[in-house]
Symmetry: C3
Subunit: 396 residues, 3 copies
Amino acid sequence: MAFMDSFAARLRALQIENMFENDFFLTWDKTDDEIAAVFTVADALRALRENGISPRIFDSGLGISIFRDNSTRTRFSFASACNLLGLTPQDLDEGKSQIAHGETVRETANMVSFMADVIGIRDDMYIGKGHTYQKAVSDAVREGHRDGVLEQAPTLVNLQCDIDHPTQCLADMLHILHVFGGPEQVKGKKIAMTWAYSPSYGKPLSVPQGVVGLMTRFGMDVVLAHPNGYEIMPEVEEVAQKNARIGGGSFRKVETMEEAFDGADIVYPKSWAPFAAMERRTQLYGQGDFDGIAALEKELLAQNARHQDWTCSEAMMRRTRDGKALYLHCLPADITGVSCAAGEVDASVFDRYRTQLYSQASYKPYIIAAMIFLAKRKDPAQTLLALEERGRKRTL
Amino acid sequence: MAFMDSFAARLRALQIENMFENDFFLTWDKTDDEIAAVFTVADALRALRENGISPRIFDSGLGISIFRDNSTRTRFSFASACNLLGLTPQDLDEGKSQIAHGETVRETANMVSFMADVIGIRDDMYIGKGHTYQKAVSDAVREGHRDGVLEQAPTLVNLQCDIDHPTQCLADMLHILHVFGGPEQVKGKKIAMTWAYSPSYGKPLSVPQGVVGLMTRFGMDVVLAHPNGYEIMPEVEEVAQKNARIGGGSFRKVETMEEAFDGADIVYPKSWAPFAAMERRTQLYGQGDFDGIAALEKELLAQNARHQDWTCSEAMMRRTRDGKALYLHCLPADITGVSCAAGEVDASVFDRYRTQLYSQASYKPYIIAAMIFLAKRKDPAQTLLALEERGRKRTL
Amino acid sequence: MAFMDSFAARLRALQIENMFENDFFLTWDKTDDEIAAVFTVADALRALRENGISPRIFDSGLGISIFRDNSTRTRFSFASACNLLGLTPQDLDEGKSQIAHGETVRETANMVSFMADVIGIRDDMYIGKGHTYQKAVSDAVREGHRDGVLEQAPTLVNLQCDIDHPTQCLADMLHILHVFGGPEQVKGKKIAMTWAYSPSYGKPLSVPQGVVGLMTRFGMDVVLAHPNGYEIMPEVEEVAQKNARIGGGSFRKVETMEEAFDGADIVYPKSWAPFAAMERRTQLYGQGDFDGIAALEKELLAQNARHQDWTCSEAMMRRTRDGKALYLHCLPADITGVSCAAGEVDASVFDRYRTQLYSQASYKPYIIAAMIFLAKRKDPAQTLLALEERGRKRTL
């Protein structure tokens, strides 16, 4: 009975006043307590649902999503989180041109938000744009709320930007915590965030950036490896350095995948595009230089092809601790011999970890729901207890 | 306590029996009492929501939308209204060709309506088509209900047709009533509905038509101004004349924007396409003459360009009462120097009124919800009281 | 009072344990008791709704649809069924290429299903593909559930595959049962499932196959007729033969529409593509031979055109029992002189049966809801009683 008690107690031990009516842009905007609160509420909502109890806190209200890049998984994670809490998902399918300049962002944000409790945005395509756009939307609806235009200020949830991918990386971390047994157990563990070869082009940097920015907070030995030319944003490396210092762990860069994998407890091999190339692409796009973009794409694919040895093969996995590191991926992976001739990971490695990879992904809807929950409840611990006491069954 | 009492009392003083199980096509189909009922229920639903009380009257059911023209704002207003009342919005994305002839309209209307409580339609592209199509859909589902095919007859809500834009104009009017303090306060006020220059082509006539058709009922001095050749539908001018006569106000046409703005209490400067040109366009479209349409578009843009002086500049605003008329727009506006080189309104004017413009728009979801509510409740006053008594919180 | 009693009693007399947590692929996978249970629950849910009582059994949860072919009617039927039971419909709009190979099917199916209670799939375009794909999705989510990835295993509902169209054919049959008065009354009745001319190309075989596979179970005299070259799948003919034998009816093939219509109690004249041609088309598609597909289409249209006399004319209808056979169609029909110059049915015949055709279609949302209900409730009879006892009004 009263299985929410422990979650509520954990939550009450945390300083999380600032989460109420706030947004979620970057994990490093948040304190350790706030990150812990997201995990606690995610686990609590999951426990409620798995015990057949509805965690609906909304009788009505909209959850708006804006996807400026294709998405199936994140779209469904967001829709699932909204549905779990009682919000109706509603997708804003704006052509990029229509909401390009600032005036229109402000106006559109307000016009769609009269009944919105949350706005989730994915905008990861252009360096320097995604995060800025999300901030602009948040500013607009907060201003609208202050001015009495909006009854409520919808909370903004970053579903991936050019800098961070907090819902993914928090889901990854919660998965790690559950696999290893908790925060004490992950201290000192070595995690290898490495580039891996893919025959496709222009994958966002938000995952590697998000991983080194977040995982360094848990006292882990975070190692980043990539071929020359695939640097991530320097600002994020600084965040990782600082977080490692504070969190009692470390952040290092190494030159080879082998070095990163040696003795690793966790590996996260994944392709991404060079930051500098993505900046060039953004400029070319701004100039409408589509020939230039096509030439750049060709150049990048050729550059990728020089690094086909960066792959999570069985041989590479044998270098990890007891050959049994936890393999992570945000999915979908480019699997050698399955989805492409040569890719990020051997089919046999992927197969061995499939169930765990799916479990990793299963945390994302709950992470998103937790972000919304914490932004909307002044006393979230009390609400968890109230949900259990209400005891409304999810199905009759 | 019992803050619904006054709304219920106001509603009970009105003759609104005909609204039950009826549609909403044109404001001039409705009596003054019926218009007043829409305002009263819109305000009541808003009061409930702003007091944290859910106005859900549906446990389940669909709200179907058909947009035969692009729409973001109206789409979200409709989705918001449905959500507020407990209906799930469901968009019917039919290619025009598929539902072009009468037989298919009847069939499709019934096929999608087995669980539908409302159908909202926007069809403003072709003169003589939109209203006709909406009537055909309504006839089809009423026949289906009579024949026992549909358990319930969905109510039809006109989300914009070739003749009127009732959800917009009622939202505009409710905004005016709130700004000025009520029906007594708007009597005798001068409202200038004027054409304004825009570099874009083919904006619907439904807003100016809806405004002169509706605002003339409130004892206002309604002035319409546009360049030669931008006439609205003569039938609607007749409606405006008649409504002015009955309502104790006036309806006049003047030749210049200046004359319209002089001493005005409210101004609504907005671009629209010439009615006659839109008729020609409809004919060309019917003949499949796409070269003719392209030629017409060029001609119309050139015609527009001769009237760039029709713009809501600061100088123009100074002509209004104390230089401080209430500025209205249905949004998005073509703002000079912001969204175009020269447009409908100066950026400084727009900026000064932005918050009020957003407030104006904020009434639309409640107006739509009120239309649905009044069509679905035999004793809407009783339902408002019941909603307050039930006191179900919108969020836990 | 207690009008659910009779439905519950009927249900309790049936052996339906295997329906719980099971899928619905083909009607001939199911026992007679299971088919009877679908009808009983469909009627019960309809009775609840028509008495103003909500049959919602879900507080939250998603109903995912995947349409690999255009659909308006089935899309709304599925959305209606989900809404009726309390699930939020969510459409997965995957490009075919993205979920083409097996690995991706498994992954995508799990990634979208974390909160999904049902997945409805329409995939009828290629022989040998649709049913296989549906099975793959079901296998994937069941594995995900077994592995602890998914809290619940969503039930799979076949919204049309290359073999069967169970939601359509069960709706058709329930309509027949209601028109004729029950299972005893349909015994010995002659039903003519016949090909009919259409100027369009490549209509699926799932309806004629579904009809002969299902209707033969009810002791009816099922007659199939089509021009030479329009054979249905031989496996399904075998199913029909077997079902007729067990069910005490008959299954025969005749050479002409006239012979099929002679003395028929029910007629179902409808165009479909030749099975063999559809197989060739699937091969051409697999080879990427689009010229070949275009040539095949031309050939098939020419082949169709040789059989314009296969049409449900007034003369043809006069051959049926008293000239008054029940006319069925899954809609939309190709109506001579209305939607095409020459088609499946005379306008006067169609007009006379329109209301009945719409009623026929009205069963589909309830059939789908019944399939979900039976897969999700261990004791569905008890749930029906509980729904009536709860007595929650659908509208306040």
